[in-house]
Each structure stands twice: as structure tokens, then as C-alpha cells.
């Protein structure tokens, strides 16, 4: 348990006072447009393209199937080399018709290998193994199920959930925070999940509480989600266990960022370079919790997710339940197609999402939102101006950084200074970028700078390692040399001391003398 928390901090935690974080932006929500229509399940597309590269936290999964093979719904079709990242599963039953490299939704913009499945329309499940007695199950069993079900953070960061849960099991957490404060404009998939599947969420919360042995669970929602509060409250009455509570937090971007949410709920800061685990907290997205309920209680792996399809370029914005691998243009069609002059297609929100080069890319586990933006929404192609150090970026930075200084350091490659000024603590929320009057792509610079710092750190580690090895080798050689010398010296000493030795020495001297005498006798 987290004894390291001061009593005051624990009291504050229990008192549920809402704290503040530095900076942030009050953005227009644009959420209502996609919340008016109920969730709808999208039938399997003609072809599903399941990318083996689902997230950036590991290499692509290795395919477990071959072209021509029949698969059942929920059957593993890809497995990761890293053990705790789990599997990729077949989203529906059908035939694998190819393994091919295709455009996928990935920040790199590169194509990736996909398993192409032709659905047979029968939706035949593989054998599911629900953990019936999950309320008394061993946390390790639950963690293992979360791993094999391929659960990742569904808030967009897609970090393998099993890794987080195992960390929590190893180090102990007192509070589990379920993040329902999706603060980015347009995205409403978590809100719709909480509205329409509150029981599943609460059960998921309890499953995760069991898996992490947390004392309590906080579901954080935004203060503008009044409907959600009511729905969750009534669901708590039917399937809650008394340890789950709802806390409403102010809607301000990036409130839903893990570090900001921790600060708002507890008044504490996650240590630089650390994790909420350092405070005895674990943060997971509400979607992840619902998926955990599916994985444990029903035995279903992660093969679908809720996707918000929104933006002024979509005819009828809404939230859809889509199978992984569904091409994005099928979702758009489901929403009445494009409308107006769509200039950019974004996966994720307008602040942190990335632009997709094509809508042929399939839905992945990270796809919380598909945003079609028209020319009116976008930053007009204003030329970049020099930084005038106005400090507006500093005012909005939730990490209390000085982006104006970091920008100078990164562009001038002053890496030590950048590190000292906290570049690695940048959460890439884009607030600075948004308010910059000089239109400097600050967040892009910082992403690049962080990459450089990470590379430098690993190079330094490699260099340090090589140096240690070299030094150790030198020392070993030195030691061997010394011990050899010692051994010889010791032998000499022993020879001199022992009577046997003395005799041998005398004999040898005698022999030498004799041979010399013979030599002398022979000489002319």
C-alpha cells in the first residue's frame, strides 16, 4: 500500500476537493453534435483490414494466420513479441484472404501489414472462457486475462493495460482513477459509453479494482456531463459495490490528461519522469474499464470500440460501435458521407490527433474519433513568424513549462538546457501551439526534441555500458596480471623457504658451477 502519501494528502484525497492545474484552454466543446443520436453498431464491412501494428508501444505483432485460413470471431490472429502486450484478434468470423501492406492509421503515416479478412456474416465466436467467479478470482488471473484479451488504453494513448495492471499489482495502489473526462473538443465516445453502457463500466471498474487491489475507484467525468452523472448514479445503485464513486471535474483542456487529472483530483503532482503509480494511483480510461468487463466477465477480447465520427465535414455526426479493421470510409458513409469542403481527416481530437492521408485506413484500437474538418475549421496557412516571446504559451502550459525558451533551445539544439527546462515533461497537448501568435508549430518541435532526448539518453546508456565493459575488462586484465605476478612471487618465496626448495636451489647452483668449470677446463 502507498504509505508514502502524507496523511494530509490522504485526507485531501478522501475529502474530494477539486484542485486546479496550471494553464489550459477553455475550448468550444463541439460534442453535442455527435451525442444526440444513440450508439449504433456497424455491421461488418465487405473486407476488414486488421493492422498488426496497433500501437506505438511495441513492434508490430507477428501474424498467427495464413492466407486462405478460416478464422473465428475473437480468435488470436497476431501476437506481440513483447509478452505483456497481448494479442490482436479476429474481429469477426470469416476467411483470411491476404496478408498485405496497406495504409493504416499510425502517426508515422507509413503503411503497415494488415490481415485482410472476408467476413462470412455468421459472427461465429471462438470458444469464450468467461471468468465466472471474477469477484473472488486471483488478481494475477485477471491480469493475465486482460493481457490475452489484448486490452490497451482506449483513450488514445493505447498503452497496454496489462502492463499498467501488473505495475499496480507489484507496487500497490490505493485509488483507481477511471478517466471519463475526455476534454478534447468533438470526441464523445466516452460520454456515449457512460450514457449507454453504465452497468458495463461499473462492472469493469469493479473487475479492475479486484485486479489491482485498489481500495476505491473514482470515475472522473466533466461538469458538463449532467446526463452521465444521473445514469451512472442509478447504475451504481444496481451494480455498484460501494467503493466506486463519481467525481465531476471542470471542463478545461487538457483536464483529461493523466497528469492533470491526478492533480485536479488529489492536488498532487506525478513526479517528473514518473507515473501515477508513484503516488499509489492508477489511471485508466473508462472505455478500457468497459473492455475489461467484456474480457473478464464475458471472455470477449478487444475486437471493437466506440468511435466518434464528427466534425463540420460529416453529414450526420454520431458515435458508432465499429469492429477493428473497418475501413474509415465505411464509418463516414454510415454517417451520411462527407459534407462541404473537407480539407483534413484527423484520427483523434483536433488538439492532439494526427492527420490521415486516406480514409481507406482501418479502425484501430487507438481510433477514438474520426474528425473531418473543412477549410473553415483549419488554421489558414499563415506563414510562421519569429517568436516574439509574448509568453502566451507559458500562460497556458499545463506542465508549467516555458515553451518559448524550449523552442529556442530545441531549434538551437541546446539539448542539455532543454532537458533542464523540462522538455521531457511536455505532454504534447498543443495548448502552446494553439495560442502562439507567431504560428510556430511548437508541439511538433517538442515531439521532435523529445525524440532527440530519448535517443541521446539511449546512446549515452550504450556508451556508458561500453565504457563500463571496457573499464571492467581493463581491471580484469590488471587483476589477472597481478595475480599471476603474485603467484610467481609466491612460488619463488616458497622455493627459497622450504628445505626441499633449498636443496633444489643448491643442486641447481652446483650444476651450474660444474658446467661452467667444464667449460673453463675445455677452453684453450
Amino acid at each position: 500500500m502507498a504509505q508514502h502519501l502524507s496523511a494530509a494528502a490522504r485526507a485531501r484525497l478522501a475529502g474530494q476537493r477539486i484542485h486546479h492545474f496550471h494553464g489550459g484552454l477553455r475550448l468550444r466543446h463541439h460534442k453535442k453534435i455527435s451525442c444526440d443520436v444513440p450508439l449504433e453498431r456497424v455491421p461488418p464491412s465487405e473486407r476488414l483490414f486488421v493492422p498488426l501494428l496497433q500501437h506505438g508501444h511495441s513492434d508490430a505483432a507477428r501474424s498467427l494466420v495464413e492466407a486462405g485460413q478460416a478464422v473465428l470471431k475473437g480468435e488470436p490472429i497476431g501476437s506481440y513479441c513483447e509478452p505483456d502486450t497481448g494479442y490482436v484478434h479476429a474481429p469477426t468470423s470469416g476467411k483470411v484472404i491476404a496478408l498485405e501492406v496497406r495504409p493504416i492509421a499510425h502517426p508515422s503515416g507509413l503503411d503497415g501489414e494488415c490481415v485482410v479478412i472476408q467476413p462470412d456474416g455468421e459472427e461465429r465466436w471462438t470458444r469464450l472462457e468467461p471468468i465466472e467467479d471474477w469477484q473472488h478470482a486471483d488478481p494475477a488471473t485477471l491480469g493475465e486475462r486482460i493481457r490475452t484479451a489484448g486490452l490497451v488504453g482506449l483513450g488514445g494513448a493505447v498503452f497496454p493495460t496489462a502492463k499498467k495492471v501488473e505495475g499496480a499489482q507489484a507496487r500497490g495502489v490505493h485509488t483507481l482513477i477511471l478517466n471519463g473526462a475526455e476534454c478534447e473538443p468533438y470526441i464523445s465516445c466516452d460520454e456515449m459509453l457512460m450514457r449507454e453502457q453504465p452497468e458495463k463500466l461499473i462492472l469493469g471498474a469493479r473487475v479492475l479494482r479486484r485486479a489491482t487491489a485498489a481500495e476505491r475507484v473514482i470515475i472522473a467525468i466533466e461538469d458538463q456531463m449532467g446526463v452521465v452523472q444521473r445514469v451512472l448514479d442509478s447504475a451504481l445503485k444496481t451494480c455498484g459495490d460501494g467503493a466506486v464513486e463519481i467525481v465531476r471535474v471542470t471542463t478545461i483542456y487538457p483536464e483529461g490528461g493523466e497528469r492533470q487529472l491526478v492533480q485536479v483530483l488529489t492536488g498532487l503532482e506525478v513526479p517528473s519522469g514518473g507515473l501515477p503509480l508513484d503516488l499509489g494511483l492508477l489511471c485508466l480510461n473508462v472505455g478500457t474499464a468497459a473492455a475489461a468487463a467484456d474480457a473478464v466477465i464475458e471472455g470477449k477480447p478487444l475486437i471493437e470500440r466506440i468511435v466518434t465520427v464528427s466534425g463540420s465535414g460529416i453529414s450526420r455526426p454520431r458515435n458508432l460501435i465499429a469492429l477493428l479493421g473497418t475501413p474509415i470510409h465505411d464509418l463516414v458513409e454510415r454517417c451520411g458521407g462527407y459534407r462541404g469542403d473537407v480539407q483534413r481527416l484527423v484520427l483523434g481530437g483536433p488538439m492532439m490527433g494526427y492527420a490521415l492521408p486516406t480514409d481507406a485506413a482501418p479502425v484501430v484500437k487507438a481510433a477514438n474519433c474520426i474528425l473531418a474538418l473543412t477549410a473553415d475549421d483549419l488554421r489558414s496557412p499563415q506563414p510562421e513568424m519569429p517568436c516574439i516571446r509574448c509568453g502566451e504559451c507559458m500562460r497556458v502550459c499545463p506542465a508549467v513549462l516555458l515553451p518559448q525558451q524550449l523552442h529556442w533551445q530545441v531549434t538551437n539544439q541546446q539539448w542539455e538546457e532543454a532537458e533542464e527546462y523540462g522538455l521531457m515533461d511536455c505532454i504534447e497537448c498543443g495548448c502552446c501551439d494553439f495560442v502562439c501568435p507567431s504560428q510556430i508549430p511548437l508541439a511538433d518541435w517538442f515531439r521532435y526534441g523529445k525524440g532527440v532526448l530519448v535517443n541521446r539518453a539511449s546512446e549515452k546508456r550504450a556508451a556508458d555500458h561500453a565504457r563500463h565493459r571496457y573499464e571492467a575488462r581493463q581491471e580484469r586484465l590488471e587483476r589477472l596480471k597481478r595475480s599471476r605476478q603474485d603467484r610467481i612471487a609466491e612460488q619463488k618465496r616458497q622455493l627459497k623457504q622450504s628445505s626441499e626448495g633449498k636443496r633444489k636451489v643448491a643442486e641447481a647452483l652446483e650444476r651450474a658451477r660444474k658446467s661452467r668449470g667444464e667449460d673453463e677446463g675445455r677452453s684453450p
Partner: protein, 349 residues
Amino acid sequence: MSRDFAIGGAPHFFPPVTVQRVMRDVLLAMLPGIAAYCWCFGPGLLLQIVLAVGFALAFEAVMLKLRGQNLRLFLSDFSAVVTAVLFALCLPPLAPWWIACIGMLFAIVIAKHLFGGLGYNVFNPAMVGYVVCLISFPRVMTAWLPPLSLADVPITFLDSLAAIFTGALPAGLGWDAVTQATPLDTLKTGVDQGRIVSEIRRAPIFGDFGGLGWEWIANWFAVGGFWLMWRRVISWHVPAAMIGTVIALGLIAYLADPGSNPSPLQHVFSGAIILGAFFIATDPVTGCTSSRGRLWFGVGVGAITLAIRRWGGYPDGVAFAVLIMNMAAPLIDRYTRPRHYGEGKQKHE
């Protein structure tokens, strides 16, 4: 059918603010003060502004061309115009036309572009131009007019035009008759002569707190300054720290020796304290960048200004104080970096 899209970096939003808007807001915020100035001292200032802006844009265009920069983009950012207007506000209304030329030459060419242009200059360009002129041409730079209400002969627009371009005053008038020492100057000479402040203040050029007319100009600049704060173009740190320091130090001096020190409000409402606090020391490029740094920057400007007023060779010292603090800004920034989120918090392994 699938469709392809152009890509671009996040955030995918229309930018709310531009450099042009920032500079335009600064210009708009100076309008009330400028209007008050003309009301009190005649239309000479407008001519100085036109001259300074003209020279500034000309020098800016030449330098941009020489440096191979985008002419249209940088000329339309209004930054040179802001420099020019601030410079013109420092000039006596009837200063000859070539003052603006020399001032802008130093401000735009040397202080701004030779240091790297917008965003890279170390010193406040307007203050560099002003200080160069003040040191080089002390006589013309101190030929101030009395408020219109005290002037024997009002100087009209055409009179101003003639005086600025030909140096000729209306028939029968000499420069000595037209110009008059500023309140700050009067105060300084008076104190140096051993007179006491309350006695000096009986002169008609003094108003309720500061100089007659000057105090109202300061008020209107303050109004513009508050508007800039409300627009989030400037932060409160520099003005608050600078004016606060002037009041605090002024009060100490006043309480210690009211005979030779004016009241703190007299300090605040005369000379360039208000203009400097809201429009000059807040220049983001040459000032400090963190909030705590800005506080120290304001404190420094306020303290140095008072020191110059009290012991220096010039009646006012805002320009010198700003330039000195410009030099100190990087050092202050170095020592005032805020603790960022999570910094220094213990990790528990």
C-alpha cells in the same frame, strides 16, 4: 470509394491570435493616450508619429530586402509601426524632422535588424532610438512645449508643420518663448538649487499629482494598458511591479525627506512611468519571459528610473532603465525559471 487527404500537424484548429493582432492591439491601446496628448499639447505629436512611422517602414523595407526576407509579411506585422509610435511619443512635439530619421535609423536598422530582426533584438528599439537622439541632440530633445492652457500663443497645426520642417517659428516668437521645462525638469533643477518640493510645485505647470496635462495623458495610457491586459496582450506583472516599486521607493524617500523628494504619486504621474509600465517595459522580445522574471524586470525598471530621477543627469530615466534591464533580462530569466509540473517530486521505486 476511398478518398485521399492532405496532412498537417496538430492542432487542427484556426489560430485565434496572430502577431499582427498583438501589434494592432498595442497600437489601438495607445490611441486614448495619443488623443489626450494632442488635446493637451497640440497636434505636433501627430506629425512626429507620421514622420517616425514613415521612416520606420522605409528602413524596415530596406533592411528586409537586404536580408532577403518576406517584405509583405513583415511590413504588415505592425511591429515597426509600434516602435515608431513609441519613439514619437518620446519626442518634443516640435522636434525637427531629421530627429525621427536618425532615431528610426538606430531603432530599426541597428537595434532591430542588425540583431536579427523581429524577435531577436536585445534592446528595445524605440528606446535605443530615443536615447541616441537624447544624448546626441540634447537641446532639441528637451525643447518641450507647455500645455496649451498655459501657452501664451497656441501653436497651430501649420505652425507645427513649419517648425518641424524648417525650424521657423511663427513671426515674433523665439524658441525660448515657446518652449518650457517639463515638470520633472523643473523639479530636478529646483531641488538641485536647494528649494523644497512643495514650493517648487506651486508653479503652474504642476497639476494635482504630476505635471499639468501629463497626468491626464498618463491616465489615458493606463486605460489603454488595462485594455491590453484584458485582451491578454500583456500580463499584469511588469506594470504592477514597476508602478509598485516606484510607489514603494518613492514613498520611502518622501517620508524620509519630503523637502527634496516629490510624493510617490507625483513620480507615477509625471514623465514616462505609466507609458513605460504598460507599453515599453512590457515589450516581450526584450524583456523577461517568465512571470517571476517579469516581476523582477518591472522592479528593476522602476528602481533604476527613480535612481536616475534622483541622482542622475536626466530628469526622467525610464528609457535608460529599460535598456539597462534589457541587458539583465537573460540573467533574470535564468534564475526565475518556474518549477515545472512534477519537477523535484520524489519517485518511489
